[in-house]
Symmetry: C2
Subunit: 145 residues, 2 copies
Amino acid sequence: MTLAVDATEMTTSEWELMRIIWTIGQASSSEVITLIRAKKNWTESTVKTLLRRLVGKNALKTAKDGRRFIYSPNITENDAMDQMSAKMFSRMCNMKKGKELIKLISETTLSKADIQTMRAVLNDKLQTAPDQVECNCLPGEGSCC
Amino acid sequence: MTLAVDATEMTTSEWELMRIIWTIGQASSSEVITLIRAKKNWTESTVKTLLRRLVGKNALKTAKDGRRFIYSPNITENDAMDQMSAKMFSRMCNMKKGKELIKLISETTLSKADIQTMRAVLNDKLQTAPDQVECNCLPGEGSCC
DNA sequence: GATTATCGTTGACAAATGTAAATATAAGAG
DNA sequence: CTCTTATATTTACATTTGTCAACGATAATC
């Protein structure tokens, strides 16, 4: 049974540590401490506390390796990103998501392959796309924009 | 002088209130209370506290109208969304942003017009797009993926 | 003018977060 | 076997967040 991890409850600091562990697959606390020092000025204590909290949130699991722990992710980076972006988009008015995506696409460096995929997806969507997306800001009220 | 509002420090609850005020432009506390009740079971006290905190964060400004306040946004919904999405994307590995965008595009209902705009933007970007986007997960380390 | 309905202000309190020191422990070095 | 070192565990503490109740002031109503 895969236990559900809610990546959206990870704090910014915790996410930084996850980023490291996702990248190298797994790590001991000392490795994490060493790597995070390149970016953050946290003490060992701080990092250990964050690691422990991540274990508490089930974002990380531990395996004993003699005296120490090896931490590894209980959720993939992609799944976590999906959860985060879904939550963020859920905060937005439906009507405005398109413009926001246009902005993100414009500002993000994309590979040729990803661009091609997007084009394919968009061509597909165009068939069934509505002329207008309904605003969902307020229950009864009309449109926001 | 426009004072900077950092929309990313708005909490989820605060954002819900902002959503209402953005939609109707401005509102008294009682209006906000009435409208939020359609979604949340917060007491008047809770809403008032949140409004006050939003004023403290400069997200809202107030104008006296007799005994009461009329709250209005100090930041547009679009700017706030931009800040939020920028912050979220900054948490992600550059290499993975493309896939995430593809996913978001797939899952979001988009208007024909927005799709057309995206296609135009993408065609444009394709010219200068790299074959691969560099991973930026760890300073020195190689690629994460 | 007294009573009631509205607002805003204060004060509260538990839980989560950022940040860390102190302490205990086990394992490796000599 | 003792000293040092690497780890983990406990404890701590100020802020922020989610939620409110109580109190005070002002306006509307009877």
